[in-house]
Amino acid sequence: MNQLLSIIINFPLFGVLITVAAFYLGQRLYQKSNRHPVLQPVVIGMTVVIGAVMVLQVPYDTYYDSSYLLHAMLGPATVALAIPLFQNAKRIRALLLPIFLTVLAGGTLTVSIAVGILWIMDANMKTLLSMPTKSITTPIAMIVTEQIGGIPALSAMFVLLTGAVGAMIGIPLMNRMGIKDQGVKGFTMGLTAHALGTARALEESEECGAFSALAMSITGVMTALLLPFIVTWLR
């Protein structure tokens, strides 16, 4: 029995196998839950993988090495994000400049507050460096966090939490503020809560979703382009 287990664990595609299985399970549960924002396939998948790795007593590095095939695809998939960005940018060309400036201002605001609070509360430097990507889409967040010396896994957690909470409170909060413009609502959702906010914005209306997707793409790319320089400069 122990021998069989060790054969399985040392199977070169062990990591790929359990990751794909966990993700599939995550997708099924997500659909069954009527797409509840907390039950994202990636959250369930990650939890199942962590559970399996702990039960089987596999060191994380062993799992990571044997799932590298999947991790390596993160690069080309990130490049492919140019395609939805192009589609969305085409749709809302007229407002591009105000959108650009709002992303700059809103993005700076949210990062400054979050990092400022961590700074005041004397959090670890690694935590601080994993925070600035909290409101952008996960692939870009993880890649950028790795670049600036934070912990990609931690940044992914921040992104998921921000997205889940943002998707839940964003629209009700803006309704209460009396904001009716679908574009403004969608824009705010995409800037603050990336893909999860966009999914929620799409439930409001097509226009709301389009603005959200655009804000999400621009926020992600601008953060990725500016943040590494800012961090290098601050050091």
């Binding site: 794909v20 993988v49 492919a80 395609i83 896994a153 931690l154 957690m157 413009d181 403004v184």
Partner: protein
């Protein structure tokens, strides 16, 4: 599908060459994204192989995130130590930004409309 993948690999390679040669701290895939976006702007439409590869690859993006995300098990101590600060930082920054962004956007939209 294959041609689409080649597009993506090549654009990532162009991004990689740029950041390494120029020594700039931008991740190669992000540079590749910017190049592909520029390419699409010049072409004016999305080539069919790219439409295909995006429709296959993008729904699988969360799958590609799992191996690195699971690395959180290595950082239990950090989470315990900074948990409260993290929760406050995330909640406050999120709420304030949701409250402020609609006004920032309206402000810039108004300035821009007045000019034109």
């Amino acid at each position: 599908m294959l041609v689409g993948l080649l597009y993506l690999f090549l654009f990532q390679l162009f991004g990689h060459i740029t950041v390494v040669l120029l020594g700039i701290p931008i991740p190669s895939p992000v540079m590749g994204l910017v190049y592909l976006f520029g390419f699409l702007l010049i072409r004016g439409h999305i080539p069919e192989p790219l439409v295909k590869v995006a429709s296959v690859l993008l729904p699988l993006l969360p799958l590609f995130l799992i191996p690195a995300s699971a690395g959180i098990i290595e950082h239990g101590a950090l989470l315990k130590q900074d948990g409260v600060a993290i929760a406050i930082a995330l909640m406050v920054s999120l709420t304030v930004t949701i409250l402020m962004t609609p006004y920032i956007f309206s402000f810039f939209a108004r300035i821009f409309n007045n000019e034109s």
